[in-house]
Point group: D2
Amino acid sequence: MPIEDAAGQQTNAGLMRVRFRETRSATEELCRSLTAEDMMVQSCPEASPTKWHLAHTSWFFETFILREFVPGYRPFDDRFLWLFNSYYKSLGEMPEKKLRASFSRPGLDEILAFRRHVNEAMDRLFETGAPEAALSRVLLGLHHEQQHLELIATDIKHAFFTNPLHPAFIADTLPVAEIPAPPIAWIGYEGGLAEIGDPGSEFSFDNETPRHRVFLEPYQLASRLTTCAEYLAFMEDAGYQRPELWLSEGWDTVEREGWRAPLYWRRDETGRWQIFTMRGWQSLKDLSETPVCHVSFFEADAFARWSGKRLATEFEWEHAAAQLPIAGNLFESGLLHPSAAPITSGLTQIFGDVWEWTASAYTGYPGYKPLPGALGEYNGKFMSSQMVLRGGSCVTPVSHLRASYRNFFQPATRWQFSGIRLADGVNA
Amino acid sequence: MPIEDAAGQQTNAGLMRVRFRETRSATEELCRSLTAEDMMVQSCPEASPTKWHLAHTSWFFETFILREFVPGYRPFDDRFLWLFNSYYKSLGEMPEKKLRASFSRPGLDEILAFRRHVNEAMDRLFETGAPEAALSRVLLGLHHEQQHLELIATDIKHAFFTNPLHPAFIADTLPVAEIPAPPIAWIGYEGGLAEIGDPGSEFSFDNETPRHRVFLEPYQLASRLTTCAEYLAFMEDAGYQRPELWLSEGWDTVEREGWRAPLYWRRDETGRWQIFTMRGWQSLKDLSETPVCHVSFFEADAFARWSGKRLATEFEWEHAAAQLPIAGNLFESGLLHPSAAPITSGLTQIFGDVWEWTASAYTGYPGYKPLPGALGEYNGKFMSSQMVLRGGSCVTPVSHLRASYRNFFQPATRWQFSGIRLADGVNA
Amino acid sequence: MPIEDAAGQQTNAGLMRVRFRETRSATEELCRSLTAEDMMVQSCPEASPTKWHLAHTSWFFETFILREFVPGYRPFDDRFLWLFNSYYKSLGEMPEKKLRASFSRPGLDEILAFRRHVNEAMDRLFETGAPEAALSRVLLGLHHEQQHLELIATDIKHAFFTNPLHPAFIADTLPVAEIPAPPIAWIGYEGGLAEIGDPGSEFSFDNETPRHRVFLEPYQLASRLTTCAEYLAFMEDAGYQRPELWLSEGWDTVEREGWRAPLYWRRDETGRWQIFTMRGWQSLKDLSETPVCHVSFFEADAFARWSGKRLATEFEWEHAAAQLPIAGNLFESGLLHPSAAPITSGLTQIFGDVWEWTASAYTGYPGYKPLPGALGEYNGKFMSSQMVLRGGSCVTPVSHLRASYRNFFQPATRWQFSGIRLADGVNA
Amino acid sequence: MPIEDAAGQQTNAGLMRVRFRETRSATEELCRSLTAEDMMVQSCPEASPTKWHLAHTSWFFETFILREFVPGYRPFDDRFLWLFNSYYKSLGEMPEKKLRASFSRPGLDEILAFRRHVNEAMDRLFETGAPEAALSRVLLGLHHEQQHLELIATDIKHAFFTNPLHPAFIADTLPVAEIPAPPIAWIGYEGGLAEIGDPGSEFSFDNETPRHRVFLEPYQLASRLTTCAEYLAFMEDAGYQRPELWLSEGWDTVEREGWRAPLYWRRDETGRWQIFTMRGWQSLKDLSETPVCHVSFFEADAFARWSGKRLATEFEWEHAAAQLPIAGNLFESGLLHPSAAPITSGLTQIFGDVWEWTASAYTGYPGYKPLPGALGEYNGKFMSSQMVLRGGSCVTPVSHLRASYRNFFQPATRWQFSGIRLADGVNA
């Protein structure tokens, strides 16, 4: 919460200015090893070129803050208003998403100048006393930028995987897990009426509100995430060949796409599994104790069924997570890959490592109201045919997360750092 | 509940025999005006030829009852085991759904002989004392047959609509609504902890269980369904042209499919709207007070947003419906089209007329367990990317319904008799 | 040519009347074993339901003769004008081809009544003295009807193949070839300036005209068609696995469609090849000396390349065929399947058995003019992306063929009775 | 022809070395104004990124000359052998074409180093006495490089058109045509036996051989290309709305793609037509006398039918062109756009300006033999479903052309600089 003193407003703006700089720098820092050419690649329908992310996040501040709150603000380039709009139809026409790979102009230099232009204008806004309404938009803009930081990492991993030369984003290798992951312990919860949704954090997205009550039956959560070794056992037990383990739509996807393993897995010439990471190909053997990653909801669901368990609902998950500090293998660890569970008691790996698929479809909470205006398109219009994921991943910044945070993707999505935590009921 | 007396088992079998005959006859009665050629048409991916429905419902009794409970049962034709399997992968391979339109052989005569063969074998089973396990399968089979009765009506309507000559299924015309539908009244509910799921009826599908508690905020339901006149106002207010009214996936569908009105609506040469019914084309003017029908979830959701309201969750709906008798404009009325709301107080049109799209995605209840074996594929494997509909329609038999009954379709589905009831919260 | 005597016109009409009756009866005779349900099936985009063929051929006479030449002609049903139009856009709108499977109404009885109505009106026209212009249209209509006779056989074969029960069109079996096909002899031609195109037959399609000169290099033709045994050798030499044998577009098709054998070939449980015929499945062993059939142009071309040979141009083919009588295994043989080459010298199997893919793309001859009016759409508008086939097949009536006759299909087409004759140049 | 003297071989190599340097430099010179980001764009399935063209042309020399003729040649990077293979399946696997946009690595610097590496190795080969077989491969490689020079221009135009900002490749504007194009004169040819195919030039592609005789009926060619103004008249006469003007496949394409004008045409806000050029958008008014460009075969064919004329066959075209010098508005003019016809008598614009669609499908000449080995895949495997274009365009280098040169594309292709010359027969 912002410091509230005599000069309350001012202090809040001052704090926000610091965070603005940090967040904006973090984005650029992440891209440091990328060439202008790398930043052009858009390798799947979910992804955007890095350069576009750099521009769009600046567009967000320009559109929703500078143009609204800074009288006489001079936009960097009028054409950018529609060029870098992602999906806000209330603001007018925009280019089709798939065209983003054609944006060789503006060049990277120009995009970076655009970022500086916006940063400087924001600086002047902070200096001259931004109104509270603007500051709350800044906060939204920073969370928005963090989402795109995460997308940059996710998208460039896919871009490098698609490149037949498979370049590495980072030049070293991941540490080899020396010891096995601890066995799964089952953490029980009594259930009953639970409060769900943001309890009043400094910031939350509209889809986390309003806070409301949900009734939970008693349940248990696995103490850690599912590992690659465990998932391999499912594969070796013909997991991808047995329709009875799959939702009907999932099985159709398996057959249509020819899935036989998570995304980013392949066999080398000798038949041994390898996993593509931000550091290039690594042997599955070396990563077997780390959480399985880049699986779809359908795979998570099938694995749970094969295990005789199920996935948690998003409410069960949040109820358990709300007790825990936001800590774990997050973006700041620099690993950019999930890591093996620690040998501790209690619920581990709740935040970070991988987004955890839940059994909950993404819909609005009772009394849900989107933000007014174009920002109302941020979350609400995606509330169909998507599943909720919780907990953040190894590419999510720590300050971006909350126990009530809801991520959402279509159930066949695999390009995300998404994984599995098992859940179960309690026998009476 | 079956009569329980000294000869309990016997009596139960006797009752079941009566219902078996009635249900099977009702299916055939519905097809009386159809030619063998009509019964070949499969006009959209959702639909099957009538003849296939006639065979598949018999296959169900043969596969799950006669082959399991009648020692030495002689199947009508061994090839039918896989030929008329719909989607039970545990039972082995089956023809692709789209091939059903190629089943000119077996001919209708042979399919009717297959039905008689199964009926006679069932009769013998009833006579010789069917075990309780068989009788409970019979009950499932009868509800299965009723689902296909409804599908036959739904599919043949689409088949006749697809035929450029647009033949009518019934030779008369619908009565013209003389008086306007009553204004919507808002029926309020206090909410709180509600019991949801089948309370222990004679029969329910596995997806209605287990009964469990759900916490509901206070809410209101519209006293009647949305009418064609009301929906037309939405259309005339550019409802299909304003992306801000739609879910993102809904808007994409509108654009891709060119939707501008519900399915089965068209303009005549003078620009006046007409609606295709089981009795052929009728003027919208004559049907304006009847419930709008054949809209997708996306259209229902957009209409609700335009109205400043929302759709009910399936739990709100069930909580309200549980108080009411199963009565309304159902299959037995013979209308086979939704009809105008009665002028009475309280909640009307809850059962029958149209399936009501809810705001709830179709997922398993806490502790949900599918039936064992192949029958476990009946409902559970469809629990992704579908929305729940409640209440039955004008082509649903009365004995098929319950307050806890859950129907489910993908949100873009329009070939069903599906419509809209508005809901709202309660301002504190 | 029509008999020319004192009552020339009359006699011509009289002859035409006889042929009209024969041709119309032949169509119906072919359908005798089909049920109304069989006649509803449309199993691939190339095919139409039998019932539609029966109606469309009548539509042709009604549209182009009765409506034009019979004052006061009363159409059977005004809606049929557009309902049974195939592709003549000059005549107005028509239903999409894929909708034909929804035409359960009009029923078969009504279609047969339509045929009788047209036949009777035609009879009156013949009696009352049809003008020469009408008679020449009749001739076109009869050839049109013969094309659809052939299509009925082709389409119903595909319909029965698509039906998972694989019914047989004819109840007996094909004779087993007792002796091997004779070795291929190479028949040489000197080439030079050749006259190509219809030399002035009683009838020809516009695409066979004008007759014109083409210069041919010396060439050779295989004395007989390629057999199943020869094609199997290609398959067993990895013919479908070697891209260097294929045109680029052909190889893409092989990969996309998963082709590994001609259409209608399958392996039984023991791995032995079987071929689906109008008489159901037969062992390849029994048919190995018969011409391979239901191959695409791409397969014919790849087989020829593998053989070190090539396909003939349509001009080489016509130059050779022009010397020969129209005789062979044609529709009238009743086999409805290609049969082994006779042991005779010279060029055999030129007419009948299978349509022979040529190396010629289908384009207009120098000075080509389509027929005037809607009939100009008959052939000319298809002159792109298709290859020419020559010689007719076992389902082509003898009176339908000429040496100059040009059939044409897209190069990936396999549902036709289409096969292979090798050709070669002459070394100087 | 190479100079033949005492040191013949040496001289030939010397000449080839000069041409090698010139050709390689020309490619790089064309790219001078492009950024590394521009060179990443692949905006349609026909196109490749500029960077890929730069690499693939070097791959060609490395693969077919350096690896074969230079003992101990050290490849720049072994992975490039498959990475930059375009479609030569005989050489092994290669990346899918659509993946080329993901090749951010190797970066442009590395590709340019690859070019230098190849250039230097080629230099050494020239110095040390390249055998005749190598020199003839060099000649092929130079023509190959020129084809890709042309593709670079064609592809970057499309890339810049796809970019919503529509950057210009060249910073100036095209000259405005001051005077109308001369009226079309009809140039007549007697026809008869004509020699077609390469008569023995220094170089030709395999598909131009063998030279052979073709019989031509008398014909006429339009003295110049069809202009934008003439094409606009076709559009304004509802050319895109009248199915009777189109081939069936062409009309289907018009409807599916929504074509209403050539590619690169649009209306500005006031409804006036503009054309996208290498210099950005220009008013149609200013370009109305220049040849229409970027039309498909289907549009060329429909325009000709609307004009009461037809397209020439490739043989008619070649017979006429063989008399003329290779001169015109070619790549060397620097316009990179077609220009208005000169006011002179006789046949004009035969070479350059736009590739002229012919009425001829692309097939092999009598006795055609592809080159041996992998190079046999260069032309021959594309001989289906494509139409021949003749004459080169404003982006074709002059030394690349011949009267016998055959270009070929699928009939719906529009991204090429392709246009229309009318032809006609001669009334007897």
